[in-house]
C-alpha cells in the first residue's frame, strides 16, 4: 500500500518535472498555480450540464479551462503587450471570479468547488483501483504512467527543439521549427499534466513538483540536459522521503513531500558545489589563502638568494611586510611547509625548487 503511494508519487513527480524544467526557464513557473485557480468555471459548467457531481463533465470542463488559461496567457506573452508573469497574473483572477460568480448565481447550495471535484489526495490513491490485464492496480498509477509516457515521449523526440526554442526563439525559427508551435505544445503538455496530476495527488504537490526540483537542479548544474536528470533524481528522492516522513508523523503526504523538497532546496542553496552560499564563502577563503601563499612565495623567490636574506626572509619581516595577523601567517606558512614549497631554518625561510616553480607559475599567469 505504501509502496503504491510512493510509486504514484514518483510517477506524478516525473510527469510534472518534464514541463516544469522548461516552464522555469521560460519564466512561467507559476502557471500550475494559476491553472489550479482557473479551472473553477470549467468545473461549475461541467456540474451544471447535469446538475450532478457524479458525471465526468466537471473534469472535462476543468481540462478545457486549463487550456483556455494557458493559451490565453501564452498568447498575451507572445503579443508583447505584457511580460510573461504579468500575462499569468491577469488571466487567472477573471477566470476564477467567473467560477465564483457562476457558483453563487446558480449553484450556491451545492458543495461545489475545486477541492470537491478535482483535487485528489495521494493518501487515498491506492484505494481507487481498476483491473489491467488481470491485475488490480490503482487508477492514479495508470493515469500518471500514461502522462509520464506522453511527456517523456515529447521530451525525447523534441528535446533539442525545446531547448533551442526556450533559450533562443529567433535561432529556433531560423532553424525551421516554429517556437510558437513548440510553446503551445509545452502549454498543452502542462495543462494535461496539471489537471491529470491534480486529480491524483492534489494541487499543492503539482505546484511543488513543477517548480522546486527544477529550481534546485538549476543551482547544481549549468547544463539543461543534466538539469533534467538532477530534477528527476530530486523528485524521486523527495517522493520517497516525503512519504516516509508523512507515515512517521502521520501527517499529510503532500505537505510532507513539499517540505522535503524545500529541505533539498535549502541544502542546495547553501551547499551547492557550484554556487552555494557556504561554498562561495569557503571559496573566498581559499582564494585569500592562495593569494597570500603566492605573494609570500614571490617575495621569498626574489629575496632568498640576496645577501640580506637573514632579515628579508625572517618570520617577523614577513609579518611586517604583508600585515597579516600572526595566526594567519602561521597557518599559511605551515601549509606551505607541508606542501614542500618552503623550508624553515633558524627562523629564516628558504624557498624550495618546487616553491620557486610554483611562484613562477603564479606570476606568469
Amino acid at each position: 500500500m505504501q509502496g503504491e503511494i510512493i510509486i504514484i508519487a514518483i510517477l506524478a513527480s516525473l510527469a510534472c518535472v518534464i514541463p516544469g524544467v522548461f516552464l522555469l526557464l521560460r519564466k512561467m513557473a507559476l502557471i500550475s498555480d494559476a491553472i489550479s485557480h482557473s479551472i473553477l468555471p470549467g468545473i461549475v459548467i461541467g456540474y451544471l450540464i447535469k446538475q450532478s457531481l457524479n458525471t465526468p463533465y466537471p473534469i472535462i470542463g476543468a481540462v478545457v479551462f486549463a487550456m483556455i488559461m494557458v493559451v490565453t496567457s501564452e498568447a498575451l506573452h507572445r503579443s508583447n503587450l505584457v511580460k510573461p508573469d504579468t500575462a499569468i497574473a491577469v488571466v487567472f483572477p477573471p477566470l476564477f471570479s467567473l467560477g465564483v460568480l457562476l457558483v453563487t448565481l446558480l449553484a450556491g447550495n451545492v458543495h461545489l468547488d475545486t477541492d470537491a471535484v478535482l483535487l485528489g489526495e495521494l493518501a487515498f490513491a491506492p484505494l481507487d483501483r481498476m483491473m489491467v490485464a488481470g491485475y488490480s492496480v490503482p487508477k492514479s498509477l495508470v493515469k500518471m504512467l500514461l502522462i509520464v509516457i506522453f511527456n517523456g515521449g515529447i521530451i525525447i523526440l523534441l528535446f533539442k527543439e525545446l531547448k533551442v526554442s526556450t533559450f533562443d526563439p529567433i535561432l529556433s525559427k531560423s532553424l525551421g521549427f516554429s517556437p510558437s508551435f513548440l510553446h503551445y505544445l509545452l502549454m498543452l503538455m502542462t495543462s494535461i499534466t496539471a489537471v491529470g496530476a491534480f486529480d491524483s495527488v492534489g494541487a499543492v504537490l503539482v505546484l511543488a513538483f513543477m517548480i522546486t526540483p527544477a529550481a534546485t537542479a538549476l543551482l547544481l548544474t549549468n547544463s539543461l540536459f543534466v538539469m533534467v536528470f538532477i530534477s528527476f533524481g530530486l523528485a524521486i528522492a523527495s517522493s520517497i522521503l516525503g512519504v516516509l516522513l508523512a507515515l512517521q508523523l502521520d501527517a499529510g503526504i503532500s505537505g510532507a513531500i513539499s517540505t522535503v523538497m524545500g529541505g533539498f532546496f535549502i541544502l542546495a542553496y547553501f551547499f551547492s558545489p557550484l554556487n552555494g552560499m557556504v561554498t562561495k564563502l569557503k571559496h573566498k577563503m581559499n582564494i585569500k589563502h592562495e593569494y597570500a601563499l603566492s605573494i609570500i612565495l614571490y617575495h621569498l623567490s626574489n629575496h632568498c638568494d640576496a645577501h640580506n636574506m637573514e632579515t628579508e626572509c625572517s618570520y617577523s619581516h614577513l609579518k611586517e611586510q604583508f600585515s597579516y595577523s600572526e595566526r594567519y601567517l602561521k597557518k599559511i606558512v605551515h601549509k606551505a611547509v607541508e606542501a614542500g614549497l618552503i623550508k624553515q631554518k633558524n627562523r629564516v625561510f628558504h624557498i624550495t625548487e618546487r616553491g620557486r616553480n610554483d611562484a613562477r607559475l603564479h606570476i606568469s599567469h
Binding site: 465564483v100 458543495h111 478535482l118 493518501a123 484505494l127 522521503l241 499529510g252 503526504i253 541544502l267 569557503k282
Partner: protein
Amino acid sequence: MSSMQSKTYFIVAIIIISLVLVGCQKQEKGDATDDKPYSVVTTIGMLGDIATNLASDYVKVTTLMGPGVDPHLYKASANDVKLLHNADLILYGGLHLEGKMSDVLDSLSSTRRAIAASEAIPEQYLIGHPGSYDPHVWFDVSLWLYAVEAVYEGLIDLLPEHTEDITTNYQAYVAQLEQLHAYVQETANTLNKEQRVLITAHDAFEYFGKAYDFEVRGLQGTSTVSEAGTRDVQQLSQYIVDHKIKAIFIESSVPRKTIQSLQEATRAKGFDVQIGGELFSDAMGDAGTKEGTYVGMVEHNINIIVSALAL
C-alpha cells in the same frame, strides 16, 4: 580539489537529512495492542457517535475527522489509508459530504464493508438535486435515524454473534434520539412563528429549518468558494430590521467578520441585532464535553438558537 570537497559535503548533508527524516520515528500508537477484534473507521464524529453507542463493547471506533474539522476540506494523513485498509467496517456520510474522499469510499463499497450512512435516507426527504443533494442531514434528528439504522444494519452484518446486544443498544439510542427530536421540537415551539428565523453565515441549516419549521437564511452559499454580494448583505440586514429579528448566529468554521458585517449594517439601520452565539455545523465539539456527542451538539444548537431569539 575544493570542488570535490564541496560535492562530498553536499552528499553527506543529503544523507544526514535523510537519516534524520527517517529516524525521527514517532512512538507507535498503542492501537495495535487493543484487544477488541474489530475495527470500525468513520469519517465524521456524528457517525463515530452512533457506532460507539451501538457497539463500543465489541469494536474499536476510530474517527478520522476530529472536532472542528470541516469534512469537506479534510486533508488526509498518511496513515489514514492504512486505517481504512484495515477497517472491518467503514462508515461515511456520502452525498459528497467528504468531497473527493466520498468518491474513493464509494468505489471501495463494492469490495468491502463501507456504508454511506446519509444515503440511506429516502430521496424524497433530501434537499437539492439528484447527484448534488445537501449532505448536512444530521440537523434533522428524524432523518438522522435513517443513518443510525444503516449503521445498525452494518454492525449486525459485521457482528452477527452480538446481534442481541447491539439491537438493545440500538433501541436505546433510537429512543434517545426520538426524545431529542421531541425536545428540539418542543423547545422550538416556545418561539412564535415570526421569531423562527435562523440567520447564519452560510446555508448549512436547511434540514434544520425544514424539520423544525424555521426560516433559514444564509449570507452565502454552502460552497466554500461562493461569496456574498453587497446586495445580499443589504437585503438580509433590511430583512432583519423589517422582521425585528433578535439574533443572528456565527458558525465555528466561518470567519466572524461575515456575521459582524451583517450586524453592523443592521445597527446602521437603527436596529440592534445580537450575535446569538456559536453553532456547530460541520463537526461536533471537543471530545469529553457535552457538545462532543451528537445529542449534546444538537441540544447545544437548539438551546442557543431559542434563548437568543426569544424575547
